[in-house]
Symmetry: C5
Amino acid sequence: MYQLLDYSPQNFVRTLPDAEPGFPAIHGSEIVRWTQLQQPIAADWLRAAVDFWQFHPHITTDLLDTAARANFEEYPEQIYVDLHVLTAPNVEHLSFEQVGLVMHAQGVVSLHAGSVFDGVAERIETSRGLIRGKGPDYLFIRLIEAVLKPYEHYFDQLEGELDDLESEVVHRPSQRMVVKILKVKRQLSLMRRHVSPLRDVVGSLEASAHPLIKRENRPYVRDVRGKVQAIYERLDAQRSLIESLESIYLSSVNQRTNEVVRILTVFSAVFMPLTFIVGVYGMNFEWMPELSLPWAYPAVWVVMVLTAGAMIWWMRQKKFW
Amino acid sequence: MYQLLDYSPQNFVRTLPDAEPGFPAIHGSEIVRWTQLQQPIAADWLRAAVDFWQFHPHITTDLLDTAARANFEEYPEQIYVDLHVLTAPNVEHLSFEQVGLVMHAQGVVSLHAGSVFDGVAERIETSRGLIRGKGPDYLFIRLIEAVLKPYEHYFDQLEGELDDLESEVVHRPSQRMVVKILKVKRQLSLMRRHVSPLRDVVGSLEASAHPLIKRENRPYVRDVRGKVQAIYERLDAQRSLIESLESIYLSSVNQRTNEVVRILTVFSAVFMPLTFIVGVYGMNFEWMPELSLPWAYPAVWVVMVLTAGAMIWWMRQKKFW
Amino acid sequence: MYQLLDYSPQNFVRTLPDAEPGFPAIHGSEIVRWTQLQQPIAADWLRAAVDFWQFHPHITTDLLDTAARANFEEYPEQIYVDLHVLTAPNVEHLSFEQVGLVMHAQGVVSLHAGSVFDGVAERIETSRGLIRGKGPDYLFIRLIEAVLKPYEHYFDQLEGELDDLESEVVHRPSQRMVVKILKVKRQLSLMRRHVSPLRDVVGSLEASAHPLIKRENRPYVRDVRGKVQAIYERLDAQRSLIESLESIYLSSVNQRTNEVVRILTVFSAVFMPLTFIVGVYGMNFEWMPELSLPWAYPAVWVVMVLTAGAMIWWMRQKKFW
Amino acid sequence: MYQLLDYSPQNFVRTLPDAEPGFPAIHGSEIVRWTQLQQPIAADWLRAAVDFWQFHPHITTDLLDTAARANFEEYPEQIYVDLHVLTAPNVEHLSFEQVGLVMHAQGVVSLHAGSVFDGVAERIETSRGLIRGKGPDYLFIRLIEAVLKPYEHYFDQLEGELDDLESEVVHRPSQRMVVKILKVKRQLSLMRRHVSPLRDVVGSLEASAHPLIKRENRPYVRDVRGKVQAIYERLDAQRSLIESLESIYLSSVNQRTNEVVRILTVFSAVFMPLTFIVGVYGMNFEWMPELSLPWAYPAVWVVMVLTAGAMIWWMRQKKFW
Amino acid sequence: MYQLLDYSPQNFVRTLPDAEPGFPAIHGSEIVRWTQLQQPIAADWLRAAVDFWQFHPHITTDLLDTAARANFEEYPEQIYVDLHVLTAPNVEHLSFEQVGLVMHAQGVVSLHAGSVFDGVAERIETSRGLIRGKGPDYLFIRLIEAVLKPYEHYFDQLEGELDDLESEVVHRPSQRMVVKILKVKRQLSLMRRHVSPLRDVVGSLEASAHPLIKRENRPYVRDVRGKVQAIYERLDAQRSLIESLESIYLSSVNQRTNEVVRILTVFSAVFMPLTFIVGVYGMNFEWMPELSLPWAYPAVWVVMVLTAGAMIWWMRQKKFW
């Protein structure tokens, strides 16, 4: 399915498709047309669009190759970008979808799935912001910016998760944490594989001197570039935080072992001498003069209490607990 | 052995070699010729090819130096690339073979072993895709792309392996894992040593402005470049995953030690005081009034049960298990 | 609220705002005007400023987007920078605020919160240093430099904190340290996310050949650039120090465990043989000739002392304590 | 000592030095002269060579400064490189020596110690390969290539050593390994300090457009560059392998501790309850009815066997061994 | 205090200052003048120098800002560098001082503390080396080189220290080492913060095409650049060595724990069964037929010896010691 949004500062027309592949002509040089092709799309509709706008054949190939890395192509009459949008920005499971954008002199053709561009469409319809008064390049920049939103949302969510994870690692370390940490690391690694081409694409767009992007709108490109850069830096920061949590978990485990061993040592140091002493007077030698002394038993108790006390005092000294 | 594939949009001719080294002339300017030289090849055949196409003598040297690093050379009339193809993309043992490709105005000469280019040959023969309608530069790009396939296949396989390894490390850590992790790390290190020159070569090809690669086919070069980049990023991602597994294994071992020590401490803390108590009443002093009290024995049992209970309660408190 | 500082080598006039948004004209070509807009500012005041100075509309958008990354924009008639100033440079909690600076031919417009620029204002009023004799570019550079001060102050403070933390980790390692280390790491990570765009901005400013920055004042830009670089290097140095502390903490914990286990082993090695010996003579066999020997009891003591001595000597040998 | 090798495709003349410093003239424009100056060389001989060929005075300074970093200098009439050759490529102890090469229009002057260039001299004498038919630039490239050989040999040897070390770390970890690992790491660090300038030098040579290196021989420079690159990548790969071995050694030690502690815990868990039980019936209370029951003793044995069995079953459950 | 060294190949004049700030004129175009300003210097002397040589005012500012990062400035008539010299190159405590050098057409002005340039002054006075025959650029290069000497000296010393530390870590690991390692790491981190700007400065000098540095002396600049690079690489090498020592220390500690635990386990495994056995025959059951058998006592000894032997044999098997 597709729809066309034709707009100018004064007008806004939404056209729904005919049964047959084909596109109405644009009336008026001020009109900007946003052609929305929604995935899944029939191949003949796609081809109709490519023919109508006379795109380079490579664009068709690339739009259909959903496994391709995000990329950026300049043609004399078009700018083509291919981006990955994060469709399920929940922390449990990440999924990505391909979004293709082609800017030409009279508008933008977008090929996408889901509702990532609904916000921009609504701004056009309700004429909020600058968008109705600007050309196709501004629309193009806003659409790229819309692709970044779910990434920002994901990192906001992840920040909260990591705060929780941090306090768990510090206060209640358990083996379950390792699984969580590993999951987050894999997600961040996957994110990096999607954000890094995104950064390349937006960087190429910023560096490009293509005449379709007017000089006055270039600062907006730089804003988008700054946003991608900020996403990348958050990714790095969270990656380094998760690595810290990993190493903190390791020292927590070792610290716990240390505490447990200390308790073991305290018990051993106190009870081993005592058990030895009582063992001595459990021997059955005929000649053991101590055994017949009436005060020997209390004396042994005194010795044992002193021994235990000395041990405890010594281990206190050593900061055993 | 060698074979020649001469094709144009309408024609396709496969020529098998004569007994004598030598090549038939190309008839028709539209014909693209793909000269397949299959390893192992007799040196005189190779020399015949180099003479026939009037290649720079360095190409011969380089084609014969099987230990050379992948490289890219531009000559006025040819583009030469030398790549390493992954021949046994199973995870157990990696092996690589050298592939040489020389593009000239009328076709491509390939020197290779194995069946890495069979898919492309078949596409030409059955006239699938765009390949028959395009010139030698498109063939050249497709052949380079074919070299990347086994790498992608390897990483797909490895991804599965690492998933298994991950769940093993988390749930059943054992020393055997260390050997596996080390093996994967060595493979990834070896892969990097082969993928990194590949990336350099494709990067040089993309940056090159050689007239043999027509402007209209440059987007396909960029696609190949994107694929190599994606392979490189997967390599990095898997390397960082395997390093995570390594550090998780270490914390798992320490965590297990911690658990074992905790059990040891529980036993010691419960039984050391009890053993001491029973030792006390095993002493043979003559004057031990408790011994003759009839309720002393049950009383000692009560004391011991209380002691054990206190110990267990205290260690529960401390979250020992 | 806003105020205007108009100055030349001889004059200094401070103008407070009217009730209505609007700016008086500048009288005299030598006058440099610093327009201070203090956050929070009413949007119409901001718009009045942008209109009065005929700024590019993007500057308004960017000044109002407080979440934006620090950035640098050159326009034909203005240079715009957007920086983050550290407002609470105490080590407990970091907070940042956005500062916007626009330099034009006749002065600088600053949009800021807090008192970060008070020092510069005072230098102008009291005519200290070179500032009154130099143009708007020099003022612009000094304002950017003023933004760096709180960062330097923060790192001075942190250096002291890390010295304390270091001596604690080395002499009194405890789990509490892990929390501190993690806190510092997070702060440094946050700092990096703010300092890194700052470095980009100042780097762009240094690289820029905008005519508004006079050749004679370029060395001062390079000084500022050197200061940002030095801040960045301190950040790196402290990050690497905190990572050292982390790994030292881990070895301290393991070292402590080692000591505790050594004590445990000493006790076990001394008392286990003794307890065994006394156990032997506590057996009730009828035929145990040793039991009736009068010198057997002292002999057992001698044996036990020798055993204990041998154990202690052997463990001394092994450097157990 | 020195010797001169004058050669052309047809001729080869070896000249030994006179007693006096001095060089015979070159007869014939096709002749390429390789002036071999063997270290240790008298300073006047070196000066004679520099005078004869009219070198820049800095070359003399640099040739005599044996501690200098490898470097590359272009002069209008000469190309000068200064390299470090690995003279004792055994894994026990590395030693390096300086090699200076100056290429000029009629040949190459080499200053070196040892036999690093003997292979090239032999190829010239026996007219193997292309060397006799090519100019001084080809000789120059081959001499630089000869310097790389011992590095490649070293890494081949080290690869074998690391394989052995790996299997030792995995199967028989011992503290001795740490010393070996450290030794290899230091060697690799030293190697990096020598290979890294080498790479810079060869990189500068490749990037240079000096007319002395003819266009047709540039591919051979790129080959040498590829070889240095490959050496560098092997260095990195081996460095990362040795770091893996280090971390594997650490987990092996911890794993071994884990096993030992498990055994300790098994013994304690089995024998502590038993020792407690026998202790109970070793008490001397007058009223202990169990003691007089005839079946009590076997019953205690049954209880003890059941207890031990329960403990063992429980620990089996917990995968203690 | 200051002094002037005026020299040419034939002449050398040392001038000490008048009481009043001021400088004598230079007589003769061949004369090179080295103006040495020794810290601490009165501000009016410094200003007199800057006036006499007509320096850019920024040089004064920068010379007085002792906390500034090393930097490099080109002016049409001067080259200015600001470096940090290591004044106390002992390994215990590092201290740095600022050195300013300004080269102009007729000489060099240096502002420094301590005796870092004494060697160069002596070479001029005694006319050793090339220095008297070369211009101010050569002097300038030699002075920068003199600044590097103490760094090299420091790393020589540190190398010795690290060798000692290494053998200590391997053979006698103790907690004291951690403090030493941390100290060295902090020093290296501090060094990096000083060497890194030094490298930038010398790199800028090498890249500069300022006419004051004559073409024939550029190779000497490259030599200095190579030396800084070598210092940087040594810094990196030592940093990576100290990190190795850190991780070796950690495995040493764990290895020691392992050994201690092994001994503990051996004692427990041998004596726990024996103590149990003797406990059994210490029970007071009336019906214990073994007790009255005359050979029971020796039999128990035999059983105990066999048990102990079996345990020892089994643990030998397991390579416990």
